[in-house]
Point group: C2
Chain length 203, copies 2
Amino acid sequence: MTKHKDNKTEEQILEAAQKIFQAKGMDGARMQEIADKASINKAMLHYYYRSKQLLFEAVFKKAFALLAPQLNAILNDDSSLEDKIKNFTHNYISFIIKHPYLPNFIIQELNRNPKFIEKIKNNVAFPSIDKFKLQVQKEVKNGTIVSISAEQLFINILALNIFPFVASPLIKAFANVDDRTYKTLLEARKKEVSDFIINAIKK
Amino acid sequence: MTKHKDNKTEEQILEAAQKIFQAKGMDGARMQEIADKASINKAMLHYYYRSKQLLFEAVFKKAFALLAPQLNAILNDDSSLEDKIKNFTHNYISFIIKHPYLPNFIIQELNRNPKFIEKIKNNVAFPSIDKFKLQVQKEVKNGTIVSISAEQLFINILALNIFPFVASPLIKAFANVDDRTYKTLLEARKKEVSDFIINAIKK
DNA sequence: ACATTTGTTAACCAAACGGTTAAACTAAAT
DNA sequence: ATTTAGTTTAACCGTTTGGTTAACAAATGT
């Protein structure tokens, strides 16, 4: 990607930056802390990524490129709506359990700078809702599901899948569950959520 | 609350701090910026609130105290489950449309410092899930709703109501809707969400 | 009227910050 | 062996940051 021949250090930096940025956000992260975590001199961060902003953007793009294809599964897959919902919720929740910081990081930083999404659109494969829309409209017309707009259904699917990871401290406090119990709850959601959605839209 | 007699300045500071903290978070906010927005000298911030941390905590507690009673409506109200869900989604979405920064701010900062919730529990009236749990269990036993745990239902209700406000930049991008259309979608959710939930749990 | 407390200001401070520099090191190319 | 280009380091720099200070103004109490 750049003029550099040996990208070992470059990758070390990106990995460390990922951890720090995802834990503390752009504003809370410190270049020195990233350098420490990568076990290299702070000047190297600037040597490879020029500025904090550019390093951050590299991390963000990588994270987004990991998340976007997941959403593509619900928007552009060829299977039936019911199968889609089942597969998506199961796969997505499994995926996020492995990357629990990801959705919160992306949502947080997009809220901090909403214009940032434009920059991403040009760099990362960006799914469109069009195909999903046709599918939902068809099923509504056929009478196999209740009347609902594709956008609302899409929001509901995302909400039920993502929110428990984004708001975990809040939910833990209100639902009065400890970390271990919460993990069990999340595991159960792989099935619970698809049942819930399918029940909600089935006639 | 404190030794200060004239609380006009104190309130001006809190209002300004609220706006800045909710827009930029603890790490992104600058004391000088808060002072500017409050049209007062920066030293006054420290005179009234001693430190950035304490000013932030005052803002956070105030925000949390605004949100908590809303959740209390679903956890401790006496009405039937169906009425509760209808009323809550309608009232909650109306409430958040007026305070769109609130849920994101609270979720954000709780993720930044999860231990913070303990401090809050001692200061703000904190609803418990117990009553709601009994109600759900009873309705499951009676066969009026499908088998679902109170915790999962609670998470689902929160997710469907709150997520669209927290993740709006992400949803707008993927669902390909502009700001005005999104507002319309949110308005429609006052009814859409309760229909969706009730459909999902009805037998 | 005067003294004391409370409120406000501009100037200041040390620490932390992102970023730069210049010199040293490494290793392949000539 | 010497040049050359890429890599790494410690020391440094200007700015910004949260926070302090000391002098001053406005109330308040006696």
